[in-house]
Symmetry: C2
Subunit: 231 residues, 2 copies
């Protein structure tokens, strides 16, 4: 049985118990990919940040809050998996310190240099997919598919991510995909070649992506170019 | 006809088109207060940040994203209203600049002093309730009820907010109220006296708060102490 791990949704990086950094990822693409993977007959594990979306019943869902939590849970599940799809929009920066109580305006200003502004010191969080890449059994037995959400220089940024995250495929989409029901994606393989493009509802696009993953990575057939079908 | 304006939900303050600061306010208390106000026979206008909750059909809902949007819409509606209930958890800080494209890791680091961290400069957003207070026709004809969500020194912070925001009443709750179905509140009047305490589902608590507002502010009866009932 093929087991697929899907990271999904946003993460949160808290400043204090109330305020946090995040993004509008809804988990819809993750839920659609989970449904498509189940339809292919795969076992599906989901590690999800806080979302309102309902994941399909057949998937085992692990809820997390921060990027560090998401990475820890994904590392724990990695040995059970044949492949990972990283569609989560995990925060890549976090405040250096998290206050134990809600900071008052006076406390926030005290931390600042000027009266009206203050400096929130942020540091990088670990890169979930890049870390999973270094912990997999081998590239041959565990595949990785990443997502790149870009607002400019789309292809160049996606290729950088493909390499930094050591993914077999990267799915490129843009900010219109966030919290939307429809999306449009281009799938790029490790030599930079486009191996698929899909557009439509997230359900339709997820189905196309999963068929391509099944063909190229699960069944390890000879790579073929799948054109956008009328999905 | 009495018209009540309710600000509800969180706001978002963007760093770039993807990343933002926010909090986990669900809008549930705002929706419950809207339902309770409709049940009292009031006209209800809601200015809400992005939430999943459904407001009651009888309410006119205006959707906003940032604290500045929320204030602008509330100021526009203020002349139509007899009173304002500010239950929104509006972000009180925003990044000084909002990038037009998703910042890459390289760009974020370039803005920083050290290689691994960077300083996100934040400034205060306008205080929605305090600004509405200075724009009302008169204290006698337009009342204001604020909410204070505190994690420490609850009462002292709530009293500071009551005065800074020039509210007639302030509803004090704690962080357990966020994104929860139940809550527990203490209502404090302008001399610092407790005039009501309620606990239960947000619907029950909203009903108690609205009856107290009706009695003390809408009908302008002589202030009385309303004890917590078995609501």
């Amino acid at each position: 049985m093929t087991t697929v791990l899907i990271t999904s949704g946003p993460t949160r990086q808290y400043i204090d118990p109330i305020r946090y950094l995040t993004n509008a990822s809804s988990g819809r693409m993750g839920a659609a990919l989970a449904a498509a993977a189940l339809a292919e007959g795969f076992d599906v594990l989901v590690v999800s940040g806080p979302v309102e979306v309902a994941y399909p019943r057949g998937a085992t869902v692990h809820s997390v809050l921060t990027t560090e939590d998401m990475l820890a849970k994904a590392l724990e599940l990695l040995p059970l998996c044949d492949g990972v799809i990283g569609v989560a929009a995990a925060c890549d920066y976090r405040p250096i310190t998290v206050a134990s109580h809600k900071l008052s305006k006076e406390e926030m200003l005290r931390a600042g240099e000027k009266e009206a502004s203050f400096c929130l010191k942020l540091i990088e969080t670990p890169d979930v997919m890049a870390t999973l890449a270094t912990h997999r059994r081998s590239e041959r037995t565990q595949w990785l598919v990443g997502f790149a959400l870009e607002t400019n220089d789309h292809r160049a940024h996606a290729l950088q991510k493909l390499q930094r995250k050591c993914c077999d495929l990267i799915v490129l989409n843009d900010s219109r995909a966030i919290n939307s029901h429809e999306t449009e994606v281009e799938i790029i393989a490790d030599q930079g070649e486009t191996v698929g493009t899909f557009s439509g509802t997230k359900r339709q696009v997820a189905s196309g992506i999963m068929k391509l993953i099944t063909q190229r990575l699960v069944n390890s057939e000879k790579p073929t170019l799948i054109e956008e079908e009328s999905i």
